[in-house]
């Protein structure tokens, strides 16, 4: 197709300002609408990505990166595979956890808790949920009562151990139960010699969270299932992805409004240029090329508006993030300011949506212009 003449016509119709036609004005309005829609979409996606990136980073920083659990039964298979795994991946932190239910008490207060026996631990840690329920902190003393019974002159009583809380740990993502973590010696005394239920695997580098499972996969026996970071957090990640799609779709409706504006303006242009279309066809321009002319004009407006809006939106997002222009109250949010993060993928999606909206908007007037009766168009003069 000879596109040069179409480019010439489209360029001149769009640049009609110097001929003082209203074409340039309505083209400017269409351009502004598309740019505004693209900028709004970029800013929204940047805001969502900023928050979601923070959440994913927090997940990787505070959560476990993979879990090894038994394919069948309640405990992991025995053998030296865990020692070999540690030797093969010294860079990874592996915490073999046994456990059961216990009661934790302080004078005047008692609460059920999960007891986790961590093989790499030598002190007593409780999480914030337990600390809050008992009103204790680091340095406080409390008692742990296990389901195991001991015979006393008063009859069988739960086995109790009085311990000093050495550390209160932050909550991991999704952790809402009261948990007390102890070393293997105390754990065995409280619960007996039960094998570990799971092994938690972490990399010191949170950036490797997504790859840890694949690294250890080859080093575990058949009876052990490796649950990846992605699978561990699948519901949350799916919710985040859904949130991004739905909000992105909602904001993209602005683009639809801008596209409708473009459609109206192209329809006006086609009506104003009806005689031109007929004259061009009288000079040998095929009807199909008249159609392409209006699609091209729509594409130019959509592409220019989309690119300008994307650039403006990305610049605004960068500025808002770099200057921390929107602070958040400390202690309420995990970040100090509203984060914005523009990804190349999001920018490409916005430009793509702009182009698609422009093509969709230009098709009805383009088809109508190409279908128009040339003879009627010539009488239009």
């Amino acid at each position: 197709m000879r596109v040069r003449v179409l480019l010439l016509l489209a360029g001149r119709y769009l640049g009609g300002l110097r001929r003082r036609t209203h074409v340039a004005a309505v083209s400017g309005i269409s351009f502004g609408g598309m740019a505004l829609g693209a900028a709004a979409l970029v800013l929204t996606l940047a805001l969502l990505e900023g928050f979601q990136h923070t959440i994913r980073a927090q997940l990787a920083q505070r959560g476990v990166h993979a879990v090894l659990r038994p394919r069948a039964g309640a405990t992991l298979p025995g053998g030296d595979w865990l020692a070999r795994l540690r030797a093969r991946h010294p860079e990874l932190e592996l915490r073999a956890i046994a456990g059961g239910s216990v009661w934790c008490t302080v004078p005047g207060e008692a609460t059920p808790a999960e007891l986790e026996v961590v093989d790499s631990l030598s002190r007593v840690e409780i999480n914030r949920v337990l600390a809050a329920r008992l009103g204790v902190g680091a340095g406080s003393w409390m008692a742990i009562a296990s389901p195991r019974l001991v015979l006393t002159p008063l009859g069988p009583l739960p086995l109790r151990s009085r311990v000093e809380v050495e550390r209160v740990t932050a909550l991991r993502p999704g952790e809402d139960r009261a948990i007390v973590r102890v070393g293997p010696q105390l754990g065995q005394a409280l619960l007996g010699a039960a094998g570990p239920r799971v092994v938690e695997v972490r990399s010191p580098d949170p950036g490797r969270a997504w790859d840890v499972a694949s690294h250890v996969q080859a080093s575990v026996p058949d009876g052990v299932e490796v649950v990846s970071f992605r699978d561990l957090n699948r519901p949350l990640l799916a919710a985040l992805a859904l949130e991004r799609v739905m909000i992105g779709f909602g904001v993209a409706l602005i683009m639809a409004v801008a596209a409708l504006n473009l459609l109206c303006n192209l329809a006006l242009l086609a009506a104003e240029k009806r005689l031109d279309g007929a004259l061009l066809q009288a000079m040998g321009l095929e009807a199909a090329r008249v159609r392409w002319l209006y699609v091209l004009i729509g594409l130019v407006v959509g592409a220019a508006g989309g690119l300008a809006g994307t650039a403006a939106g990305a610049a605004a997002a960068w500025l808002l993030d770099a200057t921390r222009a929107l602070p958040l109250p400390a202690g309420v949010f995990i970040v100090s300011h509203v984060p914005f993060r523009v990804t190349p993928g999001a920018a490409a999606v916005v430009v793509g949506v702009s182009l698609a909206a422009a093509v969709a908007a230009s098709l009805p007037p383009a088809l109508a212009a190409a279908r128009g009766d040339v003879v009627e168009g010539l009488r239009y003069e």
Binding site: Y13, G16, T21, L279, L280, A282, M283, G284, V375
Partner: protein, 233 residues
Amino acid sequence: MSERAVPPGVPAVRVEGVRKGYGSNDRRVEVLRGVSLELEQGEMLALVGPSGVGKSTFLHLLGLLDQPEAGRIELFGHDTGAMTSGQRASWRNRRIGFVFQFHGLLAEFTLTENVAMPLLIGGAGRREAAVRAGELLAAVGLEHRREHFPDQLSGGEQQRGAIARALVADPWLLLADEPTGNLDAATAESVFELLRNLHLDRGLSSVIVTHNARLAARCDRTLRLSGDGLEAA
């Protein structure tokens, strides 16, 4: 078929029993009822007749802008009824030049660009088309107006520009629909003179629709279109 290879020995236009109407049912208007015509190559034909009798419709059929409901139209031996829409567009671009009553120049383009437009549509480069357009503008005496826009020209200049555009692709057939109808008498005279000279210089076959009996008389032949068809005037 080369650009200027006009097929010898065949009429420029042969029309047989062409019918054309508009509307449907009780609002049907029969405009052309079995019109026939033969135009020899190199002939300049004036077509006269009252308003609304179908002169422009007939010209649009000859110019492949519209199709007859019945009958046959041959241009230089080619049956136009058998042409595809692409072939018809190509003929309009290369073989047929149009001049309308109103100049029909595109407002956003300079005179050079307007004249070059048929060549650009045909795929010529801008430089090549501009050179050719310059030659045509010189031929119609408008070389000093090359970069002017249509609204910066007088009526006569606009129409001379339209004639240059109609001839820029070296057409075989020139169709003019009341080319002087919008001009004062003196300007109409000069524009018609230009048209006549270019017709002769370039060996064109031309059909001129006009209401001006004096100008029609200067054509090779004059036919009157009426409800009964074409007859010598």
